[in-house]
């Protein structure tokens, strides 16, 4: 009998695919259902953010563009840019502004993680947790909407302050949410996290050892999922994060190996609990009176020079490298996107897994293509 001829199959996952979280294209080389290689192709959502910024007449005008990078966590992007510019200009903002920024950033982190774990459930095949997550995200968006009118792209945090003051019942709303949310986390855990099928699908899948994670410069929940205790909020504090009590959550390999998909997932779930803790402290600290626009400069004309500032967004380390030539427009703006860096680890951890695992791995990296392609 002649030898049966077999060959590898090249198959495109995306750019139009429900589980690539946007317009990512993964070129899969398959041997049956086993993945021989996975090559991510990006660039389908490129909008020239960095080049665009150079033609803005005012640094303040860059902020709406920054929103559109990671559109699931727009506030975090604004915060990073505002902090970079404030360091460059030497602006100090008031305690009230700092508290509002922290509350917003942490609410945004919860909202972003809700999208991440909800869509992750969807990738694994569980529909219902997705809509439950969106139900709770809605409450956060309602708080944002009542403050700045926008639900997705806020243009709220400005260089030197905020675009609007918060409404009078802001503290009550935030306190309500702090009361409302922790029982819901238990609900997700019952429905998804500790489901046997979910654990089978995610534990020991896409294991990313700590040294590989560090070599690829991963950050955020990906890095912490691999057991590396690193969080910029604690290790390189910005804003007033050094004055709050919270724990940095790391993956411990409870269900399988350290650094598997389940660890990355559970880090997000537990970070939401920590964010609630920070919010509860910040809302008690926040002064009731104060002009949030007091430090907003009329004209921004930074001295010649450059700055790199990094913040911890829900997806990892977001850095802005800004060069000023002393004029009203930035000479160069470069964003160090956490998703872009995190995605680069995909080929390394998906070789040898199955097609369904690639979906689970891409979901656990939690990418936003708006930020990767910029």
């Amino acid at each position: 009998m002649p030898e049966l001829r077999t060959e590898e199959m090249v198959i495109n996952m995306g750019p139009q695919h429900p589980s690539t979280h946007g317009v990512l294209r993964v070129e899969l080389v398959l041997d049956g259902e086993i993945v021989v290689d996975a090559i991510p192709h990006i660039g389908y959502l490129h909008r020239c953010f960095e080049k665009h910024s150079e033609s803005m007449n005012d640094y303040q005008q860059v902020i709406p563009y920054v929103d559109r990078m990671d559109y699931v966590a727009a506030i975090s992007n604004e915060l990073g840019f505002a902090i970079a510019m404030e360091r460059m200009l030497g602006i100090e903002v008031s305690e009230r502004v700092e508290c509002i920024r922290v509350i917003f950033a942490e609410l945004q982190r919860i909202a972003s993680h809700l999208v991440a774990i909800g869509t992750y459930g969807l990738d694994i095949g569980a529909f219902t947790p997705f809509l439950h997550c969106f139900r709770d995200r809605e409450r956060i968006l309602d708080i944002f909407e009542s403050t700045c009118g926008a639900r997705l792209l806020y243009n709220y945090i400005w260089v030197g302050g905020l675009s609007h003051d918060v409404p009078t019942d802001f503290k009550d709303k935030v306190r309500d949410f702090v009361q409302y949310f922790p029982p819901k986390i238990k609900e997700y855990n019952d429905l998804l996290t500790y489901n046997k099928i979910f654990i089978d699908r995610t534990a020991d899948v896409g294991v990313l050892p700590a040294d590989v994670a560090l070599n690829y410069a991963s950050s955020g929940p990906i890095l912490r999922g691999s057991g590396v205790n690193w969080d910029l909020r604690r290790d390189d504090p910005y804003s007033i994060y050094d004055q709050f009590e919270f724990d940095v959550v790391v993956g411990k390999g409870e269900m399988g190996t350290v650094g598997d998909c389940w660890d990355r997932y559970i880090v997000r779930v537990r970070e939401m609990e920590q964010s609630i803790r920070i919010i509860a402290q910040a809302v008690e600290r926040m002064p009731d009176e104060g002009d949030v626009k007091a430090a907003v400069p009329k004209r921004i004309r930074p001295p010649e020079g450059e700055i790199y500032a990094r913040t911890e967004t829900p997806r990892g380390e977001l850095g802005y490298y800004i060069i000023s030539d002393g004029s009203m427009s930035p000479y160069r703006v470069k964003a160090r996107s956490p998703c872009f860096v995190n995605l680069s680890v995909l080929p390394a951890i998906s070789r040898g897994s199955m097609v369904s695992d690639v979906v689970a791995i891409v979901g656990s990296i939690d990418i936003v293509l708006g930020e990767i392609d910029r």
Binding site: I124, G125, L192, R201, M354, V355
Partner: protein, 339 residues
């Protein structure tokens, strides 16, 4: 039943035709209802309302509107596909599923064909669905569809074994393959149902239900479709009414395994209250209610559980279900010998 019809109708062939088409009268409205129910069940589980407007009361006519929309759609056949197989596959799928309804006793007075090997016939004829899915996946000339089709055939062929063994346990207990006789044996009160016959038949029912979920590709075994990985699997390239035929088959299959489950374990058309509310017409009512109950359970599972991976799916079948089913079969037989 055929004899009664022949008295009223001018030609015996006409009577036969009407007799054969009767399950269609149940299956089509059932599918329309089940799709609507699936939407409502999923919506209420997910904190939504689901369709609320079409037709007035809770969007009851949404699926009718959807069906009309599907019929109007353009019939797209991919240019590089195998045209004959591509067009034929959906109808073969429905044929395999509909043919199985012939031996389902809907009531004490109505059964399509009084076959003495009814249970065997159902298990045999439903396997045609596998063939049609493989045809659809191959003919689409799409790699994703092919992956989906391969998964399906592997899955259905494997899961047929535990299903057959679970059905065989009932056959051991009753001594007949005739589904009408099995139903008649369970008449009387609820305690005459086979599920209460012995503890091992209860286990057999659980095995049957799990493996039938895989047979009809429902969550957690819905890998062939797995919209988040294969984007629809074998029916990615289908559109319009051909796609509708696959959906029709899926829901008809769900109905079929639910009805078979209620015939084998839950008394078929028998009323749970003995003589109260029993009779040929009530028989249809009980049969369909029992079927709908299992369909509801399937929907409940679908909107709660995630999906298994393909190797785990095979593990569940070959490592757990099949050994369990065989041991259980022996225990059922021992029980019958002793008592």
């Amino acid at each position: 039943m055929v004899e009664t019809l022949e008295q009223f109708l001018p030609h015996p062939l006409l009577a036969l035709f009407i007799h054969a088409a009767l399950p269609m009268v149940i299956v089509f409205p059932y599918v329309l209802f089940a799709v609507w129910l699936e939407r409502k069940v999923s919506a209420h589980m997910q904190d939504r309302l689901g369709p609320m407007r079409t037709g007035g009361w809770h969007g009851w006519s949404q699926t009718i509107a959807d069906m009309i929309k599907m019929i109007q759609k353009e019939d797209i056949v991919p240019s590089r596909s195998d045209k004959f197989l591509f067009k034929f596959a959906p109808f073969l799928a429905f044929m395999g599923s509909y043919a199985a309804f012939a031996v389902i006793p809907f009531s004490s007075e109505y059964i399509g064909a009084h076959l003495d090997v009814g249970a065997f016939y159902i298990l045999a004829v439903t396997s045609i669905v596998t063939l049609s899915i493989l045809m659809a996946g191959w003919a689409s000339n799409n790699k994703w569809s092919l992956l989906g089709a391969m998964r399906t055939s592997a899955q259905i062929v494997s899961y047929e074994i535990p299903t057959v063994v679970a059905v065989l346990s009932v056959i051991v207990a009753t001594g007949t393959l005739n589904l009408m006789t099995i139903s008649e044996m369970q008449s009387g009160t609820i305690f005459n149902w086979l599920i209460f016959h012995s503890p091992f038949l209860f286990i057999a029912f659980v095995l049957y239900f799990i493996s039938s979920l895989a047979e009809v590709n429902r969550t957690p075994f819905d890998l062939p479709e797995s919209e988040s990985e294969l984007v629809g699997g074998f029916h990615t390239e289908y559109s319009g009414m051909r796609w509708g035929m696959f959906m029709l088959t899926e829901y008809a299959d769900m109905f079929l395994v639910s009805l078979l489950g209620s015939v084998l374990f839950f008394g078929g058309w028998n009323s749970p209250f003995g003589d109260f509310m029993s009779g040929p017409i009530w028989g249809v009512f009980w049969m369909i209610s029992k079927g709908m109950f299992f369909i509801f359970v399937m929907m409940w599972l679908r909107w709660t559980l995630p999906r298994l991976r393909v190797d785990q799916l095979m593990d569940v079948c070959w490592k757990y279900l099949i050994p369990f089913a065989f041991v259980n079969l022996v225990l059922v037989a021992l029980w019958e010998m002793i008592f």
